[in-house]
């Protein structure tokens, strides 16, 4: 006899399910919970409560057993996680171990994943530049991927909305290629960065060097105090988790905000296996969740499902959501799901020295750097490659230690200050072109420990990227020379796709259901109660660090979803 546990099903029924608790999932949860919608937040990683679960946050440098370096054994066991600059003693516990996340590399790809509530919002570089109209217009103008179904005007009010809550420090630079927001006070450029700014302004009409815009509270507003967050203390160890909430992480902001409403339920250790599609109702009705500790599968139900698992994980889950109606993955009528994945090209850097301002130095620390907005092909095509690159830029001056001698000689040498020239450096952040042959798909044979087919990844650089690297080196060499920098050295760091942690696409937005998966509201064209608002939705990548755009898209889509739900359309 079948025993129908009606009460149990009721307990597992919500208005909205949000898959993922990071940068974008936190926003979906906050928006739904704030408006009174019962919301379930599913997170595959472990619990990570603000402050309580930041075990290294108050360790002094000398209290880290290896002064930050992870033991060789751990690095050798986790070559993928260890390829990230943040995989050190202060933050390695926030990364997913390689054994937890087996996947197939058809081409070299470092899939850097977090493993706790808050996701990569604990670990990110906190740079928050808006996209401009020129970025959204890219694919249509240059004839690649598909046209974005939205433009800058559609998202601008949502940039305003999330920026106010997140807290973005920046300077109003008045550039139409990088729109201003309602900024908190900017960080300071140092004298050599200012010199470079002036030199570039003088010598190039089309280029600007600005202070980066970043998610740090430089002057709290009431909305930040309401979140329990305070002014950034410039400790510059953000990736350990910040007890002040000085930078934005879902853990210090959107997630506790959602929970405080009483409308949200947060479930860590919850690996989403797939979405459940009901052929009769012709809609997604819920998700299948595997408890990573008990390995038991449970189904949860909701009217609306937001996919915020991270770009590739969202692809993975949707591809694995097979039904009679959708044998190739939920919403994948055109066979394009998983295709047109792209990323950011960080492969080239250029360093130099500067012998001006020899009587000056900096004092203190700054969780930010200068930024060079994209200047190539912004208004029209002008090079032999498509699109362009933004760049980070920073100047610094440190005393170099003299390690000579032994005994008292050595000790005295170490105590001496030796001020050499200023050092400057820049790294490129290039737009890559989404292509059909850059894809992720389910492997036909290999499964992970949950029985889920492994994701197989094939994403590569192409000729456009190589040309862009050359151009970055040439243009920055010229800009450096004009600024009087010397000992200029451009080099490549060999970073493979994925290591930028800006992978995007696979479930792209577009106007036409034949050539895209999502509409202008981030709804699956053919399953309207499923929304994708993490990196998977991106039609193209432009050059900006993407988190701010994911947050704005999420808040916008959640607002639309709730209005549709109230109208009875979802």
């Amino acid at each position: 006899m079948t025993y129908l546990n009606i009460n149990s099903v009721k307990k597992r029924k919500f208005d909205a399910i949000v898959v993922g608790s990071g940068m974008s999932g936190g926003w979906a949860a906050k928006e739904f919970a704030d408006k009174g919608f019962k919301t379930l937040i599913l997170e595959r990683g472990k619990k990570a409560e603000h402050i309580i679960d930041y075990p290294t946050t108050n360790l002094q440098p000398w209290e880290l057993e290896h002064r930050g370096r992870m033991p060789d054994k751990v690095r050798e066991e986790n070559p993928i996680a260890a390829s990230c600059y943040n995989f050190h003693e202060g933050a390695a516990h926030f990364f997913m171990k390689d054994t937890e996340q087996p996947y197939v590399q058809e081409s070299p790809f470092q899939w850097i994943r977090p493993n706790q509530v808050g996701g990569k919002s604990l670990l990110w570089a906190r740079q928050t530049q808006r996209w401009s109209k020129y970025d959204f217009e890219g694919p249509a103008r240059d004839g690649f991927a598909v046209e974005w179904p939205i433009g800058y005007d559609d998202i601008a009010p949502w940039y305003d909305y999330v920026e106010n809550f997140v807290g973005i420090s920046g300077n109003k630079d008045g550039l139409d290629s990088l729109p201003d927001g309602d900024f908190l006070p900017p960080h300071e450029q140092n004298c050599v960065e200012k010199h470079f700014t002036d030199s570039v302004n003088k010598n190039f009409d089309d280029r600007h060097i600005i202070i980066g815009r970043c998610a740090h509270i430089t002057e709290p507003r009431q909305i930040h105090y309401d979140q329990g967050r305070a002014k950034c203390q410039h400790r510059t160890i953000c990736e350990r988790g910040c007890p002040f909430g000085g930078y934005f992480a879902a853990n210090s902001s959107t997630i506790p905000w959602a929970l405080k409403t009483g409308n949200a339920t947060l479930m860590p250790n919850s690996v989403v296996h797939s979405l459940i599609y009901d052929d009769k109702k012709q809609r997604a009705v819920g998700v299948r969740v595997i408890d990573s500790e008990s390995m038991e599968m449970t189904e949860y139900f909701a009217d609306v499902i937001f996919m915020n698992a991270s770009a590739l994980a969202t692809n993975h889950i949707l591809l694995n959501s097979k039904s009679n109606r959708f044998p190739e993955g939920l919403g994948n009528d055109n066979g394009l799901m998983g295709k047109y994945v792209a990323f950011h090209n960080y492969r080239a850097v250029i360093n130099a020295e500067y012998e001006g301002f020899m009587d000056k130095k900096t004092a203190g620390k700054r969780p930010n750097s200068s930024y060079v907005p994209r200047f190539r092909n912004v208004y029209k095509q002008e090079t032999d490659f498509l699109r362009g690159y933004a760049a980070g830029f920073q100047a610094s001056r440190n005393s170099q230690s003299n390690y000579d001698g032994v005994g008292e000689d050595l000790k005295n040498n170490l105590a001496q200050e030796n001020w050499g020239p200023w050092r400057v450096g820049s790294h490129m952040m290039g737009e890559t072109i989404p292509k059909e042959e850059s894809y992720v798909r389910l492997d036909q044979g290999l499964v992970d420990k949950y029985g889920i087919p492994q994701l197989s990844i094939n994403v590569k650089y192409d000729d456009n990227d190589e040309k862009m690297i050359q151009d970055f080196k040439e243009q920055f060499t010229e800009m450096y020379e004009k600024a009087g920098f010397t000992n200029i050295k451009a080099s490549e760091n060999g970073r493979v796709p994925g290591n930028d942690i800006h992978e995007m696409g696979g479930v792209r937005m577009g106007k036409d259901p034949k050539t895209s998966l999502l509409n202008e509201w981030n709804q699956l064209h053919s399953c309207k109660n499923v929304f994708v608002t993490d990196g998977a939705c991106m039609t193209s990548t432009s050059t900006q660090n993407p988190s701010l755009t994911y947050m704005a898209l999420t808040a916008r889509a959640a607002d639309y979803a709730m209005k549709e739900m109230k109208k009875g359309n979802l």
Partner: protein
């Protein structure tokens, strides 16, 4: 927010126990790092040495966990040959030497041009200097401040 008291209560004894080293060699290593960066009593500039600070424990943590096998093996082998080296030069084991002689002995090791001693001394010096420079004492002396922080992009450089 103020820093909790435990954050400033670091002492050599509170460091994790070192592994993979005999009690004798651990004592010897402590003397070696002290000889490399000794206590100084210069009036007005008295400062503890690396041994007193427990930098040897950091050296062993790095040798154990962050050093390639062959380099670690050489380090441990040569460490057990330090007394022999000392006896050949001074007819006394390293522990019996005066502070000056200990430093002199380290200096002799540093100029012994065999691959083994070069590797040993390179490892010892690299980690001792790193541990000493990132010690609580030296970092605070150099103006380290955990929080609150600040940034000023252009201040006068006053050569010390």
């Amino acid at each position: 927010m103020s820093i909790p008291t435990w954050a400033n209560a670091w002492t050599p004894e509170s460091l994790p126990e070192v592994k993979n080293i005999s009690t004798e060699n651990a004592k010897l290593l402590n003397m070696l790092v002290e000889a490399l960066i000794p206590q100084t009593d210069t009036p007005g500039a008295a400062a503890p040495g690396a041994g007193e600070m427990g930098v040897d424990k950091f050296v062993m943590a790095m040798v154990n966990d962050c050093t390639p096998d062959n380099q670690r093996n050489t380090f441990m082998t040569q460490l057990s040959l330090v007394d022999k080296f000392s006896e050949e030069k001074y007819s006394e084991p390293f522990a019996e030497l005066s502070a000056e002689k200990k430093t002199e002995c380290i200096s002799m090791i540093s100029t012994t041009e065999t691959p083994e001693w070069e590797s040993f001394f390179g490892t010892l010096k690299r980690y001792t200097v790193q541990g000493y420079q990132s010690s609580e004492y030296v970092m605070y002396k150099n103006g380290f401040q955990f929080a609150p922080g600040f940034y000023n992009g252009c201040v006068d450089l006053v050569e010390s």
